[in-house]
């Protein structure tokens, strides 16, 4: 299962295995990059932040305690801080320009809203569901089909669809509780 694999990555990371950073990057790179991209807009900025997050995580690896939280959640926290730094830097640049122009103050930059981060974490977990369950969840969320109609369309037994939905929601919830920020 994916959660077990996450545990392996986390363990390797806290032991500072030589390939742990590569494993962490393969597992969480898209998550970190997506958060940065969503918050900053510019790809080049998102790439910079992604790089900073993993370099910083590796260097401060000693402060990661797998007993206190997940590797994903820890990386998300670092990502939010780096995004806030990048926004602050932007603001500083903007303020210099404004001062040159004799202009006004700029509102304080913020970390990406919790909901934005949680949505990306959720999308990451949705993408990791087994194929059939992923399709059921996508139809349950985004089409107006009832679970009976989903069962018809996909040719699945009703019980399977209901079970996919219940377990799928529980899995999303667990992931959000582990790696998200609002829960």
């Amino acid at each position: 299962m994916d959660s077990e694999r996450d545990g392996d990555v986390s363990g390797a990371f806290s032991r500072r295995d030589p390939d742990a950073l590569a494993l962490a990057y393969a597992r969480f790179g898209p998550l970190v990059y997506s958060i940065a991209l969503r918050a900053l807009g510019a790809r080049s900025d998102a790439e910079d932040v992604t790089q900073q997050v993993f370099v910083s995580a590796w260097r401060s690896q000693a402060s990661f305690d797998p007993g206190r939280g997940t590797l994903g959640g820890w990386l998300v926290t670092i990502a939010r801080n780096k995004v806030a730094d990048a926004l602050r830097e932007r603001q500083r640049d903007g303020r210099v320009l404004l001062q040159v122009a004799g202009g006004a103050t700029v509102s304080a930059p913020e970390a990406p809203p919790d909901q934005v981060v949680d949505r990306i974490v959720l999308a990451d977990e949705l993408a990791r569901l087994p194929e059939s369950q992923r399709l059921v969840m996508a139809l349950a969320f985004y089409s107006d089909l009832t679970h009976e109609q989903i069962a018809q369309v996909l040719g699945l037994p009703l019980g399977t669809v209901k079970s996919h939905i219940r377990r799928g929601l529980q899995r999303l919830r667990s992931r959000l509780e582990a790696d998200g920020v609002a829960y």
Binding site: A26, G29, Y33, F54, R119, K162
Partner: protein, 231 residues
């Protein structure tokens, strides 16, 4: 007293009218079930905000190159080599892309320690965009076999079945699924064409005009990806 069936709570969180009047009574009286439903509803709302997100985008390959360079002068092994098995979940955006670009960059002989990320990245931008297009064509061709068109609110579904044709990237006849008798007689085609810069999909549907609107969904048959596009 036993709690409300978790499957019923899950369906209710999705907005379905599931369960019986007794479930209603219990769910209102029981703090546990009420909290459970509220939590699941939050997750459903979060998932629905802004529509389907799709698989996350993987960072471009030079990001890892730079991390590896900064951390250990390139001594850290590549994440591609390090991932066990082929189970990359980011199939559309990840594995193929990464493999293509790695090949290209290996040939470029760029020094990983150049430290001038923005300059080094420039020449790679063009070809990478090209690779992205190529990947999209592949993805759409793969999607074509499982294309489903959802019609109007809670109504019918039309499934596509033919193989892609030449010149046009993909072309498919639409016909209603047997489970939706009210849509029998509806026909249509979906044609994907490539222009110099993009792919365009035209969907022609011969179906009754009804209140509401039609929605077009692209589904990978294996559920890897769904691309909703409304009309």
């Amino acid at each position: 007293m036993s709690h409300t069936d978790p499957e019923i709570l899950a369906l209710r969180a999705l907005g379905e009218m599931a369960g019986t009047a007794r479930d209603d009574e219990h769910a209102e009286a029981c703090a546990h079930c009420r909290a459970e439903l509220a939590r699941l509803t939050e997750i459903v709302d979060l998932a629905r905000v802004g529509g389907p997100a799709g698989p996350l985008e993987a960072p471009p390959p030079q990001v890892w190159d730079q991390i590896a360079a900064v951390v250990a002068n390139g001594a850290v092994p590549s994440p591609v080599a390090a991932v066990p098995g082929g189970g990359d979940p980011y199939e559309l955006n990840g594995a193929g892309h990464r493999a293509n670009s790695d090949t290209r960059e290996a040939g470029s002989g760029r020094s990983p320690a150049s430290g001038d990320g923005s300059l080094a990245a420039e020449p790679a931008a063009g070809p990478r965009r090209g690779a992205r297009r190529g990947r999209l064509i592949t993805a759409l061709a793969g999607l074509a076999a499982g294309l489903i068109i959802g019609i109007g609110g809670t109504a019918g579904i039309v499934q596509l079945t033919q193989a892609p044709a030449t010149r046009v990237v993909a072309q498919i006849e639409l016909y209603p699924l047997p489970q939706f008798p009210q849509w029998q007689g509806a026909t249509g085609t979906a044609v994907m064409r490539a222009t110099a810069s993009q792919q365009v999909m035209a969907v022609t549907l011969n179906a009754p005009r009804r209140p509401g609107f039609y929605e077009v969904w692209l589904l990978a048959q294996n559920g890897t990806s769904m691309i909703p596009s409304a009309t």
